[in-house]
């Protein structure tokens, strides 16, 4: 499954990183605590979170994640989007809750990686 398919099937808004939409998704992780993500998320994972500040981009880039899905319309500042764009990181936005997105991802076959 590539990021673009998830964008299309879940109707997500592409906020940044449209050049990297063909990246393969290896699995998923959901949390709002950055240290948890640092410890558990794997390269190529899609990360579902309510957080949308510059450090989210730093964490996602360091971990080489495939995409970040920001839920519940959490406001994404222009500098956050610009930073993601510069790093070629896909940032997606949705009004849905984290739980709803994770359920949908699971239905599409995106699994947790332990």
């Amino acid at each position: 499954m590539i990021v673009r398919e998830v964008v299309e099937k879940l109707g997500l808004q592409v906020v940044a990183g449209s050049a990297a939409l063909n990246r393969e998704i290896t699995g998923g992780y959901a949390a709002d605590l950055l240290s948890c993500v640092m410890a558990r998320a794997k390269p190529g994972n899609v990360w579902v979170t309510l957080q949308a500040h510059p450090n989210v981009i730093a964490v996602a880039v360091l971990l080489e994640l495939a995409a970040v899905i920001v839920t519940e319309n959490a406001p994404i500042a222009a500098e956050v989007a610009a930073k993601a764009e510069a790093e070629k990181l896909v940032v997606l936005a949705t009004p849905c809750t984290t739980f709803a997105i994770v359920t949908e991802l699971a239905r599409l076959g995106v699994a947790a990686q332990e």
């Binding site: 050049a19 605590l33 950055l34 410890a39 510059p54 450090n55 730093a58 360091l62 971990l63």
Partner: protein, 305 residues
Amino acid sequence: MSSHEITHVQKLVFRVGQVMTRRVITITLTNTLLELKEVMRQRRISGVPVVNDAGVLVGIISIEDLLRAFEQGALNATVAERMSTTLITVRDTDLVDVAAQKFQQTGVGRMPVLDAQDRLVGMLTKGDITRGLLAEVQAETQDEEIARFRASHIFRDVESDHTSLTLRYTIPARDFTHGGEASSKIKRTLMRLGTDPQIVRRAAIATYEAEMNLIIHADHGGQITAEIDASQVTLIVQDDGPGIRDLKRALEEIGYTTTPPEIKQLGFGGGMGLKNIRKCADQMKIESQVGRGTRLEISLRLHTD
């Protein structure tokens, strides 16, 4: 070209003049279609711009026009009679994405390129754009490959009893905007040195946690020093206060944190930082004195064997 590909082209910053074919083969109004056929056959092209005596672009004629004339037995007609005068052109200074959109909107296979004085300076096909795009991507990866090749040889090329590379970073207090940049740079350096990706990942996680600790907790920020030699990377993270009040709890108790609530809202302060660092490091030493500061030293072996 699909709309997805157009989106990719939009990311490119180069202009039509950089990807077009410069040697333009033209034909004049008075040439016959038989002569046109020879030009197309010899040059292996399927569309030719038509110029008048003054060299100004007046039309374009394609292999489809030629085939139609052939079906009608009109190969002795002139180019002027059979050419298309509806000209879809681009400027050499146009961005490539403008040209890509024009291809998609009009369905034409090639476009004459004009300069600011309306002179014909080149021809552009979708293939030219694709080739330009591929060349750009290749140049980017090639630069990184060269950087990696050079860096990976450093420990072999430099002769000394012990060669090491020292990277120093100053981390300002509360600078959340740039949080993670030092970690990114250390990570990139390790990758260029040809380090195993799993080890790079552990080093990046440990450095990031230490970097964020300086940003969140240290009164005046601090310094990160990474010393890399052929066998290991040693990270020294230092600050001058406030110091960790209960080091034992900070190291062992899940959820123990002194992060202020307003920073917790950003997703920090889960009481996991030092534990994450310890999990990633092969060796870890930490000394801290309240009012004096904290010194963390960790090392990771660069080879798994």
